[in-house]
Symmetry: C2
Subunit: 226 residues, 2 copies
Amino acid sequence: MPPRHARSNPLALAVLTSLLEKPMHPYEVAQTLRGRAKHESIRLNYGSLYGVVESLEKRQLIRARETVRAGRRPERTTYEITDTGTREMSDWLSELVATPTKEYLQFEAALSLLPALPPDEALAGLRQRAESLVVEIALVDGAVTAARLRGLPRLFALESEYVQALRRAELDYVERLAKDIESGQLTGADQWRSWYAPGGGRSEIDLVATDEICAAHPSYPQTTTS
Amino acid sequence: MPPRHARSNPLALAVLTSLLEKPMHPYEVAQTLRGRAKHESIRLNYGSLYGVVESLEKRQLIRARETVRAGRRPERTTYEITDTGTREMSDWLSELVATPTKEYLQFEAALSLLPALPPDEALAGLRQRAESLVVEIALVDGAVTAARLRGLPRLFALESEYVQALRRAELDYVERLAKDIESGQLTGADQWRSWYAPGGGRSEIDLVATDEICAAHPSYPQTTTS
DNA sequence: CACCAAATACTCCTTGACGAGTACCACACG
DNA sequence: CGTGTGGTACTCGTCAAGGAGTATTTGGTG
């Protein structure tokens, strides 16, 4: 019965997989991860790292091996993974792959508050986002094909592929939405414009009226409650 | 110069937009947000709420209006938004709409560590994920169209539309990836299988060799450094 | 050879998120 | 008329994340 919140920080999982290769001291783990560009997909900073390692040791998933003092440098403690640790990492990673989890995205929040912005500003923002997305997609595409040409097997670029797929979908959605707002296709856009029309004081009733209806929103299965 | 980390918690933005409608006390804000299902897109719990409100007051974006004690209940402090607050919320929301930010997704982390799992387990996990995604997409689609039939304008369901678009893209990607692993299309899958082949002790050299190459990964513009 | 920048290998401390708990009241139910 | 359940309106304590700092060593440059 490992406390469930123990599976919250992916950095811990990354540490486990690193130690699976060979015993290392925390800083070396960080170097390895950075060297393989894992910090692009997993939040990594020294502040958290040592805390995570400590917690893994407390949970017996890793074990201190030796504490060496090379020269007069601060001492380095080398850790190795335990059998329990190997099993935990396998379980955890499997779960991470197999079950989708609810993520709270910044842009999702933005969209849910969009009516708080005048339609024109919203539209301008969406256009700007679309442009930025185009640039980003092109950049990453370039970097990925460059890496492939250098001989990096596709197996090690899956994260980038995935994120690219999501970005493309987002770009698609943003463009469609912008078009729909502009052309008046968007149901509700008429009231929206009226709130911000000169003289048209925002009648709060419109918003309040939607309260009950919104309550019927998706209440899809929480993955956190599993 | 508002400290940049002040723009980290979207709940604060949600509070600002709520107070734009009318002055409220924190608990009422929470009720409003829950009533409109914002908690599906914005992390909301009472523990954080009061901290956020306090910080907003300290930054002069909202101001305490009155502290009423109805009956012998705990006192309720009503807050209203200030002019600075209105401007800040407009700025913040615009920025959120206009500029994509790097998100650290669980599944992204999983994919980046995928080689730590035997290919068969990885494949099984991906298949299971695909199934879950199909179910989730169907559920939310149902809920959204139901809400639409009840008269909810599309303007208030944009978040769901967006998340659905992302989920569809993810499903697409997962299915393609599963197929490619199975059919051996995936470059690197051969070494991958060999690491886990019976007797084939994991030669660490393969992994280490990719280190340098991986370093050439996307170093696309950090949105945090802007 | 003096000096400065960068790398090494961490530690510390401040925010801030979150869950659990609390005290009070209203209303229904037997 | 007691009791219990659910809503109201918060408070508190814990724990983790993350940035900034620190002390030492290595390597390069004028």
